[in-house]
Subunit: 192 residues, 4 copies
DNA sequence: GATGAATGAGTATTCATTCAT
DNA sequence: CATGAATGAATACTCATTCAT
């Protein structure tokens, strides 16, 4: 699965032959098909594994609402995962960009991230997959910020920024430590 | 080309057979090959056409630097183009997400957007393709904003936000007018 | 037809698209099809034209037998034609080398060269297409040469040599005048 | 490879679809591509295999010069190979007759036949591929034959004859034993 | 568990030929 | 007479998947 992730992320899922993966993994095609029913099954397993890891980080106390501390923690964890495994994010976005695969992916992801709340499935970004808690967080924040504060706008701006940051960072050949840290702190400062 | 763009954007470039495009365009495969030398040529022509339209909007007075008005105009134009032809942006991002195609695309785009300035080619976002003027804009802005202002960070935050906004908007089934406008004004207000 | 001959000879009949010929001839494909019913028809016309020229040189007095002078003349004419239009010979041999085309070609050629005499059609060389007169010539020559002379062998050796000479000469980038002339005289001296 | 050789020789390399070969060989196209990377690769392997067999027969004692016995042996071996596998020679000549393929073929052959000596590459006959030893043989022969003997002419006449003999024999439907043997002995007697 | 030979449906591309203008 | 847009059958090659061993 690691080898497959790496090659899917680099060459694209449809462009990477199963034989190529088998060869680089040092096994035969036949054996690969003993473990995965199909190429799509292999892909699904890769996605699932990473989403499973991801799911653990959200809403640690499982009360369905993000405190300010949880919000900051959530952002830091998300970005930490990004740095640990950028190949996964490249694959993830690559699939998300293909309209016909996206619905499949969105559904799979939702079963991990969400507990029954169905978001507007038409928007393809990652954070909308866990929209309930996010929008609720910004709604609550209005109390701190006063009348002029527009929670819907702020929530969206936050999502744009995070989405863009993930995408850009995932595709950098190597990450500049200083800029990376400044960006993370900048996002937290602006939207916490 | 319109039919091809539509199908490439929906099903993915590699996943869309040329026969499928020909059929939906109501012509034969052979005729398609009278107009385009190859599938890749068709893709390139589609990209070029849209980039050509795009290129006209940057730096209207051609002095290589963005005034505040030009900056705002640039953002508005960019987002207007996004609404006019979201399919192009879906295709564009789809290709940008595939590491092996990206360099080709980046080079093509650069020849349109840039005048000899070579950006850090490793980051795959759109705005980095016109990086000179953007970073210069934020550097100049420091004079207005004072000592605490970090132009590098602000430039990056701006890029993340725009990138995320384009991506998310391009993939929405239909755009909520109110939210869309609020987002545009929000981005301008925050980063102009 | 000249353009076609040139390209057929260089690139091969099957490898040379009709469009390529039309373009180099400065006409449209459509016009070409006004003059020739098919690609094969074009080929046939080219062959016929050259064979027609060729046919005039054999057996000038039309008595069905070669005198010694006619034999020498025939060789000289044959080799002169070779030098005038080596491209035709390259095309001719090229086609002759393809078993499936050869029968067609052999038949066409025979209708020009021969008057009803059917040679062993299995041997693919040029001279066998006019075998009657040749073999008759060497049979008569036995009278001059005596008991040890084997007309069948001599006729064959003659054919091998001429065939090889044509083939090798037709494919030379440029002909060395001295060697060419020595070869011609050598063949005449040895087999006249 | 045997099936392919047979069909290439009969129908021509460019005219024989790979599917046709696979069908007659009783395997699928896919399997064929497990063994050969491309149609051209299949062709190259066929040529190489036969050239490999051929190469063993030249200059048996590897001293770079042909004795009279070696010369005779060489001719006999060459003609024996011709009878064993005429299809190969038909294919070989067929390719040699196509100007655009010929250089490729000449180079491949030379790496087998030759040890660094580069002949005039423009003439397309087989024997010129091993020209050094041949011309050297006839030069030496002058000592035996006296002042009037022209080694260049004799070498050429020899080549014409052999070339013509191979070509004509390779394309005969069936070989007449008596004529074949007489021709072999005739060539040896005339040029040894 | 492990292999890799074998398959066949699918895909990009070419090209002779037609035909309306 | 002349064009070139249009077609569709043919062809090399790929690759997910199966299965006997």
């Amino acid at each position: 699965m690691d080898v497959a992730l790496e090659h899917f992320a680099k060459g694209g899922y449809y462009n990477t032959p199963i034989s190529h993966i088998a060869k680089h993994a040092g096994i035969s095609k036949g054996l690969l098909y003993n473990y995965f029913r199909s190429k799509e099954d292999l892909l699904t397993e890769i996605i699932n594994r990473s989403l499973h890891d991801l799911a653990g980080y959200f809403d640690p106390d499982r009360d369905g609402r993000l405190s300010e501390e949880e919000f900051e923690l959530f952002i830091r964890k998300l970005f930490a995962l990004l740095r640990e495994n950028p190949a996964f994010w490249r694959l993830f976005y690559q699939l998300l960009m293909q309209s016909e695969v996206r619905k499949l992916l969105v559904n799979t992801t939702m079963s991990y991230m969400n507990r029954g709340q169905v978001p507007d499935s038409n928007s393809g970004n990652f954070l909308l997959l866990i929209p309930g808690m996010i929008s609720e967080y910004f709604t609550r924040k209005k109390e701190r910020k006063g009348e002029d504060y527009d929670p819907a706008l702020e929530g969206n701006m936050f999502m744009y920024t995070v989405e863009g940051f993930i995408m850009i960072t995932a595709y950098m050949d190597e990450i500049d430590e200083v800029n990376y840290n400044k960006s993370v702190e900048g996002i937290i400062k602006l939207y916490k």
